[in-house]
Amino acid sequence: MVCVELKDVSYRYPTGEKKALKHINLQISKGEFVAVIGKNGSGKTSLCNAIRGFIPHFYKGELTGEIYLNGKNVLESSISDLTLDAGYVFQNPFSQTSGTKETVFEEIGYGLECIGMDRMQIIEKVCNIIQTLQIEHLAYKSPISLSGGQRQRVSLASIIVMEPEVLIIDEPTSQLDPKGTEDVFEIIHKLKNMGKTVILVEHKIDLIAEFAERVVFMDKGKIILDGPAREVLTSPILEEYNCTMPQYAILGREMMRRGYPLQSVPITLQEAKEAVKPYIRTEE
């Protein structure tokens, strides 16, 4: 079942000279984990904004084409109407907090308060999400006192708790350390396993290779590549656009170039281990 659909979408920001999105055609099925990659300014965030309805309802400008989210025409629905259809985790966690709550617990529950959920239900849901994200130690802290990384987790929690059908996550690990980054990817993976549709904008290509099942590569507002993670992340087209490949793919391609007959180019650590194994001499 298709839950996100863009038909020939083009968009220009009100003050922009060039189009931020050019003739985008994209279909995302329910439960898919799609990573959007590309250089800065390639249109990744604009694509997410269009799917969530921020374009054209908040960011005005010139939009053509059709966008559907869970069967709803995004252009005809307000941002609030789509609250339960799609959650959006922003790149800057400092903008995500409401700025009205005294504790992280209340901050996470803010969205549920806004949609009028029963108080006890909110408390139970917030408890669950706090435990899932392992942020119990932050629960009664003031959101203002949190570091960037802690805020990023709280932002993620505050969106996940609303249980939207589609989760749009824009660089959720920009302020996290390597361990925190892996933890967030584990959480996103769990969400995918729960049947959620995840659209993730991220630069950490190795983690995308590890977790995403489909990758969309964008450049100058256009979708250049769209397909299974392995196909896209090992495509020579990425190099043409100066986009980095996963380090294991680089290793695999180098091995193939030097004559090692690998069955396929590895993109994850596990695949790389398997690929390299026959060529490692052990003392045994």
């Binding site: 969530r52 903008s95 409401s98 700025g99 009205t100 709550k101 005294e102 308060e113 949609i115 629960a139």
Partner: protein
Amino acid sequence: MESAQEIAARFAAKKGNPVLDLYPASKLMFVLCMLVASICSPHWCFGFIVFIVCGILTAFAGELKGFLKGMRIILILFVGLLTVVRAFFYTGDNLHYFLQLGSFHMSWEGVAVGLGMGSIVLSVTSPLLMTTKTATVEDIVIALEHMGLSPTASFLVLSTFQMVPELNARSAVIQDSQKSRSIEVEGNLLVRAKAFFPMITPLVLSSFASTEEKSVALESRGFNYKCSKTRIRVITDTPAQKRGRILMGILTGIFCVVGGYFKWFA
């Protein structure tokens, strides 16, 4: 992590202290009544009695230290200074002077007028400070919401209060970055005055920039979702407190009629 029931109790604002657990609207009603009563009070000692009563109530809530710290400035600046100034510069017929400093005379009538003005200041500030020390801003706003304040207005009030520490944190970052660019931001008054614009401009501009993203983030979390909003934090009013507020209003009305008669007509 505590159980959902325990968390619900934590956010139910019941702390087992009669003053802390008083419904914020009752405290606001007290502020309003004291303001009106102080205007109609015929004697300057009214404000001081209110100050003492508020001090006792705040002590009962365990917040006396903070209360006195806040009131210290008001007592010295507004009450003390106002009384001294009025005592020296009050003009009128048949004044009774009790002190002379050069060409300035201090009169008992001036002291009484100064204390009367200070009394009004005390009558308003003491209950107001007591309210802020014994209730959180969010509790007060929830009470106002129960009285009909719109969620948008309550959001504005709450975010304004929270904006101060956010702006402080941001200005500290800007100050550090300006320092790293060799802009002097510390030193005498002139140096600080010079640093004002390099500090304030990025602060204002960054605030504007983040407002756009913040508003879209709020919108995506259902800020304008059409339904009646709920809250994790709850505060409850009681019939006894409702009756208390009505009684407070009636008593203030009587006090104003009697006090006003003695003040302006007797």
